[in-house]
Amino acid sequence: MSKAKRLHPAAVIEILIKNISRLIKIIIGPFVVIASSPLSKKWLLVTGLIGLLLYVIVSVLSWLRFHYTVHNDELRIEQGIFSRHKTYIPLERIQSVQISAGIVQRIFALVKLEVQTAGGSSQAEATLSAISKKEASRLQNILQLSVITPDSSAVEAYQYQEKNLGIKNLIIAATTSNGIGVVLLGGLALLSQVNQYIPDEDIYTRIGNYLVSFAGQPGLIYLLAVFLLFLFAWLLSIIGTVISIGGFSISRLEDRLLVERGLIEKRQISIPLHRIQAVKVSTGIIRQPFGLAAIHVISAGHGDKGSNETLIFPLLTSKELFDFLHTFLPEYSLEKSYIGLSRAARNRYRMILTIPTLLLVLPIVVFLKYGFLALFLPALSFLWGLRQFEDAGWNITNGQLSIRYRTLGLKTFLLRGHKVQTISLEQNPWQRRKNLKALSVMIASKVGGTKIGIKGIDEKDGDKILTWFRGQ
């Protein structure tokens, strides 16, 4: 295996596209100026072609000069046309391996392989932009199976388990995703912008008149418009979710998790079990009535786009959940009962949002007819705060610390004591008076660390957690 290899020639196209798109970003401004100047079009074409040719040559050269090999338990990459840039990654430092296929790769039936270590940057430490699928799975095996797992005794001899997100569940996942809220807000923002550019009497009134004649009552139009907007936003969010999590499947190969997803850009992420720092079980507000949850893991190497977490399964019923954890994450289990927050924190949770919203809607209530209807906002805040108080809690069982809290949806973090980096207890003057503490647990994640915490636990409970942690 010590023989250095090149990427597939299609890598040239990938490099070329990358280089050109980088160039375009820089020269787009000057280019517009030049193109509109009275210079002859012929010259422009000639310089353009020469430029393109140069870029092709550079791309071919960088492909020729790119070599990779696995040698002495290291992934070695050498690249660079003039200055040689060498990257050596010891295999035991590799956190995760991601295999994906963009458009270029799919045309040639190739894949891209990215290797991530625990280093601080969010970019992959090594990228092989175009290799055959066979080569990718060969590499993946070498890169990750040779790793000495510290607690391999916990893993049974050989096993292969797989779970797919079926079409039915994909549709359920897409229709109940939280994306709907974001898209709706985006749509509203867009509409408020569009409003500024379209004169009042134009299309709006015409459609309005039509609708008035149709619905008979002007009040209904707004309702109808809001409804349509909502429907449209929902559809958009469904399409987005389907594209991103279509074809989702998870499999466990001995001590590795393989997650595959994506309709347009296919991705496969491979994470060794012992690299996982925490498991997150989250139930969105829309999914809660149906008892559906999504599972994420936090690892020091990989996170989904713009996130420190990696989705490993998008939709599970509460019945499936226990089985799923047992099969794919055998070190973790979801507890049923939690030790709640201190009673003394209840008022704080109820009032923290209620008072600001009350002050906010007060002018409406006082000055507008039917303004009292706006009181539903503070009432909602009150109930939501109460719910947050009731849902927050912690639990320690068999070396696992569970922390549960609610933002909008419910989140439960499962943490193994020996994966936690530090635990802190905090107490501000108000909490000191009420014998409360805020718990914050730091774990390693893709960029820096991730903080998981709840506020308002009893002082004595805080000490219990610290004592447990110190005994680990």
Partner: protein, 159 residues
Amino acid sequence: MGDQEGNKLGKSALKYWRLSGFFSSLFFWLFPLGYLIFTKYFPWPFLVIYGLIVVCLSITIVKTAIFPKIKWERWRYKVSEHDIKLSYGLWIRRQTVIPMVRVQHVDTKQGPLMHKFSLASVTISTAAGSHEIPALSAQIADGLRQQISLLARVVEEDV
């Protein structure tokens, strides 16, 4: 687990904090100074300057006499074989436990003003951020750095 156990920072830490608190409070004195200059050119009431001076004086007193003292009284660190325990905080009191096996590296650092007091800070880094023991005597800081890095090296563990 009382949060008052462990070692205090040295007496010179208090002196250092008092001095740096004093310097940082000087910034606020720019306001009465600026106002004084303005009264030369504009018909602004001169009396306001006394108010501003009183405010600045109290800021300086609080930042040199009161805050450093409380901060110093609160600071405790304890290094044992298995973990490092820190507890500190003026308003928000914080207690942090860093297991020895989680420590990735330890640094000592010394700014120019700290050098005058022969003080140094110890920074303990984990895979999820770092923690600092500020203003230890340079000698103790060096010893602590060596002690922690020795203890941390005994158990080599990966994230």
